[in-house]
Every structure is written in structure tokens, then in C-alpha cells.
């Protein structure tokens, strides 16, 4: 069958269905309470022997403890929630940050040599190098040798950028303003890994660079962001030369507070002319 024919059949079926069930009778999921909130997912120990103690333990961690069981297995609800969170994590890795979202922050986009998501996951090294076109673009569009360079990247979670950038980024800009630091031309790197900072450092030679990048999603949060910071990033930088504030999301490190604090860390890097484990915070 040809594609056109299938489309026609589908269209016909849909029309018939709509005639059968007029739209007024359709169930609105919100009215029916079919939208699940965090509270709806909650399960608990039915009759804990020590209520306060159990509550203290469950309050101390976002991990799935004290969720109860049926026989020797978890409750169906717990299993569904686990699958739900797992799916969200996979989506976050596979997703892409929408272009118009980035335009809101006046960020233009360049790419690393990652090619596509599949290669990106298998070949971390490719996410550390910008394409020749990207090098050309940032050479043309960015201020050379700025005091502070901001770079945003999707990394392993596009939803991290979409969830947190609107709070982290303006707070960061304000903190730079308050610390009297000047900022170069910020941009977005698609398919970036943390060490793409080094390549960018070679090209633009900023004094300090901060990379806001999506973290590997977990089952607690799929939209967690990290801010990696480095003094004079360049080839040969090792992990211990970078500082990081991790777990930035609405239920973790507060995004606005993290943004405000990045400015202070950058200022200390400039004062002490170093970063990483040598930096005294």
C-alpha cells in the first residue's frame, strides 16, 4: 500500500470515530484526575512501628525507600514510577534544546564533531572538539580574550538546559555585573562534553570560562545541570584543574543561588590566578 492510501484510510477512520464520539463527550484527563502529580505517586508503610523514625528516614533522601511492597516485590505504582522516571531520563538524553528557547537568551549555536546522538554516546572524545565551521563561527562572532566566557551546552540532558537556564543564566549575569566582571559573547554548543571547554579556551583565550551543561540524567532528576569553571582553559587541562557546582535543578541546588554563586567563584579564580583543587574557596 502506498503512503497516500494509508493516510486516506486513517483520515476516514478518524472522521467516523469523531462522528461516533462527539467532542463534548470526550473525557478531559484533568477533570477526571488522570494527571498524576508527585503526591499521587506516593506510597508509604501502612502502619510503621515508629512513625517519626520512618518519616525522618524518608525525608532524608529522595531515594525510593519506605515505599512498601506486595509479597516480595515492589507495588505496581512504584514499578510504574520507576519506569516513568527511566523513560524521562532516556528522553532527556535523546532530546534537543529548541532553537527559539536559545534565542530568548541571544545564544547562537555551534556544534562539536559528535555527528549524531548515537555517535555522541559512543564516542565522548568527539564531543570535546568543535567542528571547523564552529571554530570559524566563534572566531568571527565572539569577543576575543574576554575576562569571563559563558558557554551553554546540552551535554547529556537537553531538558536540564530548558528547565534551569532561565534561572541560572540571568542570576549569573547579575552576579558578574555586581562583581564588576566583564563577559564575552556567550553561545550554545550542541553535543558538548565538559572538556570542550579546553578547545574553546584555545580559540578564545578567556581568563575564566564557565560551562553550563546538562548532567547525565538519573532516576531522581532528568533535568539536572552542572556549572564547570576553569581558569585559562586550554589543551592539557586535567579534571583537578576545574571546579564544579553540580545537581542544579529546582529540587537540588537552587538554580538562582547557584547562578549567583558562580560569579563569586570566577572572581576568586581571577584573584588567585588558578582553579580546581588549588583554588581556595
Amino acid at each position: 500500500m502506498k503512503e497516500k492510501q494509508i493516510e486516506l484510510i486513517v483520515q476516514k477512520v478518524m472522521e467516523q470515530l469523531q462522528a461516533k464520539f462527539p467532542s463534548e463527550n470526550r473525557v478531559d484527563p484533568v477533570d477526571k484526575g488522570l494527571i498524576f502529580t508527585e503526591r499521587d505517586w506516593e506510597t508509604s508503610i501502612p502502619k510503621p512501628a515508629f512513625q517519626e523514625g520512618a518519616a525522618d528516614l524518608t525525608a532524608s533522601t529522595p531515594a525510593r525507600i519506605g515505599v512498601w511492597r506486595t509479597g516480595t516485590r515492589p507495588l505496581t505504582k512504584t514499578m510504574l514510577k520507576l519506569q516513568f522516571d527511566h523513560a524521562a531520563a532516556i528522553d532527556a538524553v535523546g532530546g534537543e534544546v529548541l532553537e527559539n528557547y536559545l534565542q530568548e537568551f541571544e545564544l547562537f549555536t555551534v556544534e562539536t564533531c559528535y555527528e549524531n546522538k548515537e555517535v555522541y554516546l559512543k564516542r565522548p572524545d568527539k564531543g570535546r572538539v568543535l567542528t571547523d565551521a564552529a571554530v570559524q563561527t566563534i572566531k568571527e562572532r565572539c569577543q576575543h580574550r574576554p575576562q569571563a566566557q559563558i558557554v551553554v551546552s546540552d551535554g547529556l540532558s537537553a531538558s536540564a538546559v530548558e528547565t534551569n537556564l532561565k534561572d541560572v543564566y540571568p542570576a549569573l549575569l547579575d552576579s558578574l555585573k555586581l562583581s564588576n566582571l566583564t563577559c564575552g559573547t556567550p553561545f550554545f554548543v550542541k553535543g558538548g562534553r565538559v572538556a570542550c571547554m579546553d578547545h574553546i579556551g584555545e580559540i578564545l583565550e578567556p581568563e575564566v570560562l564557565v560551562l553550563l551543561i546538562g548532567e547525565r540524567p538519573g532516576l531522581v532528576s532528568a533535568s539536572s545541570m552542572s556549572a564547570y569553571m576553569c581558569y585559562r582553559p586550554r589543551k592539557g587541562i586535567v579534571e583537578s584543574d576545574r571546579n564544579v557546582i553540580s545537581n542544579i535543578h529546582p529540587l537540588g541546588t537552587p538554580p538562582v543561588e547557584a547562578g549567583a554563586h558562580i560569579g563569586t567563584v570566577l572572581q576568586k579564580m581571577l584573584e588567585q590566578k588558578t582553579s580546581g583543587v588549588k583554588l581556595e574557596l
Partner: protein, 474 residues
């Protein structure tokens, strides 16, 4: 900064005795290197506890200030302390001393001359909590499922705090103390405290100055006193039925209590031999020893398990010296030249989605009414609520606060904000950029409407010691 050790003092001016203590508080980073910095007091070490002295009184209504000051100076000399060494601490005035004529002036005078950030605190509820932390009851409750009541009985009051899992549940204070009836070894009553008289009248006990009381009569009175106190704690009698004995309480009915600990001067006497003669009773010219032995006798009649206190007479002073200072969050915005700030009243608003502007306006109006006088900094604004703040919302909040503050307090120069949630640095920078005020914005401090706050000089770039005083002076 990995760890910092600060010296903290405690001074307890009680109804019958006064004590001084010194401690070292170790501050350390408690968050990982991948998170925002977070500091806490990780160790509290008591390094010195003074001899217990009788609180010097000029007469029945006034404390002898010069004597007290010279005693304190001697203590400082003895431990080799200079005022600039002391980075925190508290002077607490407890029991009946707090109602003496010059109590207020005295405690502030002492606080200001005891070190950089030594604060004046008072209030029966606070006293109870500090005593319960100093005695070891709070720590005991962390490793036990039971609710434990710490009964701290001094000369003038019995301060009770109930802890469970290290958390304060409730506090209650009774007019029960060793010095409420003073007497000599012949059983002759020297004075009866006015605060005990309503209960004596209620129980139809005849006790007047100059009367002679026999040992059995004294036993009867003290036994009834302990019985009523324990009845209230055990739930046998309601708080309202014994209003004449209750000084103040945080709740109309107490939670179920499983264990008790006794501290304070009377707590110390409780572990000694019970007095056998009138002479034994009147060892300190008051009913203290008898009250102690009767309490220990009476408590056996209840379901309570008695847990031995780690500290008895020094519980309150140790609590005051080691437990009053809290630390702010470590991402805050301050202008160090404005600190320390003392006795700043607090008005509180909750961050909500809807009517935040209205709320701020209302609390500002209230604040204007209550705290007139200090034009430079009329009060600190406490911000509670669990609302997640986006940066847009945060800037809005900063605008609202800035505009209404300017409108209501045209002479103010400093804007102080105390947030419950971790947001002070972001809010502080928004306030700095959007208003013309000098800004102190700190966080992770729980605070209520009507509290008073002291904010100390910074311990590093972004960390300040804070004392919240729930009950301030009238």
C-alpha cells in the same frame, strides 16, 4: 577555609546562683566540593566551667552590678581571655532574676562588655531549651524513640522542655524552685517568693514570713509541689487546672512523655543524700535540698523512666555558651562594614504565588507601628514559604520589597532580609542591583514574626553567626 575554631562564652545569672563557662566551637564545611558551600558547627567543646557563685544582690529588687562585673573580669583573667578573643556567646538571665528592676540594663551591659558577639538572651522557653541541650537530654533523645522531658529546676523556676529525636516538641515553665521559700535551720521562714503565693493559697498552705515550719510540714509542701508538677507532665492534671503554678507554656496540653531528666541546681542536689534533719534541709537557707529529694521520691510513682543528666547545675550556662549561636547559609550577600547588628526586630512574610505584594505592605505597616524609632534600620524582613522562586519572580520580589520599603521608611538606609530557604545570595544581588540600599541578605535561618535577631561580623567572606531571640525584653 576548611575548619575554623571560635571561642564562645556562656554567662548565666540565675535566681540563686551565677555561672560562667567557655567553649570552643569548631565550624566546618558540611557540603561536598561539588555543591554550594554549607557550613555548620561540627564540634562543641566545653573548655572551662567556673565555680558557682551566689548571684550578688544589692537588695531584694536589684542585682549588684559592680560585684557581678568584677567577678566576671576575674574569670576572664583566670582563663587568659581578652574580649577580642571571644567571637560568640550569650548572657542569659534566668528564673526570678529576670524580673528584677535592673535585669534588662544589666544583661545588655554584660553582653556588650563580654566580647565581640556576645548577646543578651532571656525568656523561660529559651531557657528550658538551652538547659535541655546543656544537660544532655537533647542528645539522649536522638538515640531513643522516647519523648524525654528535661526538668531544669533552679532557685526560682522549673523549666521543662520535651525533646523527641533531638527536636523540641514543647516547653513549659513552673513556679517551682529551691529558693521560693527561704528558711533557717530552725525552720523559720525568712521569705516567701510572691510567685509561689498563689499556689500556696490554692492548696491552702499557710506559709508566712516569720512562721516556723516543722520538717513534716515542709515535706508535705514540697511533696505537693513536686506532685503537681509531675501530674501536669504525666497528663494527670491539665495545665489550665493549675494555672497558679504554671509560669508559661508553649501549648495547652503536653505530648506523652516517657522519660525525664532533672538538671539545674536542684538536679544536682537530687543525686545527694536526702536531708534527714531541718539543719540538713536549710543547708543553703532554702528548701532546695528537700525539693530535690521529694522530687526524686515522687517521680517513682509515675510511669517515667529517669535518665541521669550529663550536666546538672551547669546545664543552662553550657547550653547558652554552646547552643545559642547558629550559622547562616554560606552563599549570602552582606556588606561587612554594617555588621554586627544587635537586637533587630523581625517582621515576617511568606513567599506565595498570589498576594505577596499585599502581604509585604501589611507587614511593613505593622512594623512601622511597632518599631518606630530606628529610622536607619527599622526591622529585618523574614521571608518564609516553600515557593520555588524563578529568577523572574525573584526580581519581582526584590522590586516589591524595595519600592514598599522606600515608600514606608524614607529615612532607612539599610535593608536586612532573613530568608528561610537557600536564596539569599540571588535575592541579595537583585536587591543591590535594583535598589539603592545597603543590603544584608542572609538565609537558612528559621525566624518568626516578633523575634529579634543579632547578626555577627562575618566569619569568612560569606558566613555570619546569628542568634535568634524568640522572646525579647519588654
Amino acid at each position: 577555609m576548611s575548619t575554623v575554631v571560635i571561642k564562645s562564652v556562656g554567662i548565666d545569672i540565675g535566681t540563686s546562683t551565677s555561672k560562667f563557662m567557655m567553649s570552643e566551637l569548631t565550624l566546618g564545611r558540611v557540603s561536598s566540593n561539588f555543591s554550594l558551600p554549607q557550613f555548620d558547627i561540627i564540634q562543641r567543646k566545653v573548655t572551662y566551667v567556673s565555680e558557682i557563685i551566689s548571684t550578688p544582690l544589692k537588695n531584694e529588687e536589684e542585682i549588684d552590678l559592680p560585684l557581678l562585673v568584677s567577678w566576671l573580669e576575674k574569670e576572664y583573667q583566670q582563663v587568659g581571655l581578652t574580649l577580642s578573643d571571644i567571637k560568640s556567646g550569650a548572657v542569659i538571665i534566668t528564673g526570678e532574676t529576670a524580673i528584677k528592676k535592673n535585669a534588662d540594663a544589666l544583661i545588655h551591659y554584660l553582653a556588650e562588655r563580654s566580647g565581640d558577639f556576645v548577646v543578651a538572651i532571656a525568656g523561660a522557653s529559651l531557657e528550658a531549651v538551652l538547659a535541655g541541650k546543656g544537660s544532655g537530654a537533647a542528645r539522649h533523645s536522638q538515640s531513643s524513640r522516647a519523648a524525654i522531658a528535661n526538668i531544669d529546676i533552679g532557685g526560682g523556676t522549673a523549666n521543662v522542655v520535651v525533646f523527641q529525636q533531638g527536636k523540641v516538641l514543647e516547653t513549659i515553665t513552673f513556679h517551682v524552685g529551691g529558693r521560693l521559700i527561704e528558711m533557717n535551720s530552725l525552720g523559720e521562714v525568712l521569705t516567701v517568693s510572691p510567685s509561689l503565693k498563689p499556689w500556696l493559697f490554692f492548696k491552702k498552705f499557710q506559709v508566712e514570713k516569720g512562721m516556723r515550719l516543722s520538717l513534716p510540714k515542709l515535706v508535705e509542701i514540697t511533696s505537693a509541689l513536686c506532685g503537681d508538677l509531675l501530674d501536669v507532665l504525666a497528663g494527670g492534671k491539665s495545665i489550665s487546672s493549675l494555672e497558679c503554678l504554671v509560669h508559661s507554656t508553649s501549648c495547652p496540653a503536653l505530648p506523652r512523655i516517657h522519660e525525664v531528666m532533672v538538671s539545674g541546681g536542684v538536679g544536682r542536689l537530687a543525686v545527694e543524700e536526702p536531708p534527714a534533719t531541718l539543719e540538713d534541709v536549710a543547708k543553703f537557707n532554702d528548701i532546695g535540698p528537700l525539693l530535690a529529694s521529694e522530687l526524686m521520691k515522687a517521680v517513682k510513682r509515675y510511669h517515667f523512666t529517669v535518665v541521669e543528666a550529663a550536666q546538672t547545675s551547669s546545664a543552662t550556662v553550657i547550653g547558652a555558651g554552646t547552643q545559642t549561636t547558629k550559622l547562616s547559609g554560606a552563599t549570602i550577600l552582606i556588606q561587612p562594614e554594617l555588621l554586627p547588628l544587635r537586637n533587630v526586630p523581625v517582621v515576617k512574610a511568606a513567599l506565595t504565588e498570589m498576594d505577596f505584594e499585599e502581604q509585604i505592605e501589611q507587614v511593613f505597616l505593622k512594623g512601622k507601628e511597632w518599631f518606630e524609632g530606628n529610622d536607619h534600620l527599622p526591622f529585618a524582613i523574614g521571608l518564609g514559604g516553600t515557593l520555588y522562586l524563578s529568577y523572574v519572580k525573584l526580581k519581582e520580589v526584590a522590586d516589591i520589597i524595595g519600592e514598599l520599603y522606600a515608600m514606608n521608611f524614607p529615612l532607612a538606609e539599610v535593608l536586612a532580609v532573613v530568608c528561610e530557604n537557600d536564596m539569599a545570595k540571588a535575592l541579595g544581588q537583585a536587591l543591590r542591583l535594583q535598589t539603592n540600599y545597603q543590603v544584608i541578605c542572609i538565609d537558612q535561618i528559621g525566624i518568626e514574626h516578633g523575634d529579634y535577631i543579632d547578626i555577627g561580623a562575618p566569619l569568612n567572606d560569606e558566613l555570619v553567626p546569628v542568634v535568634v531571640k524568640t522572646l525579647a525584653f519588654s
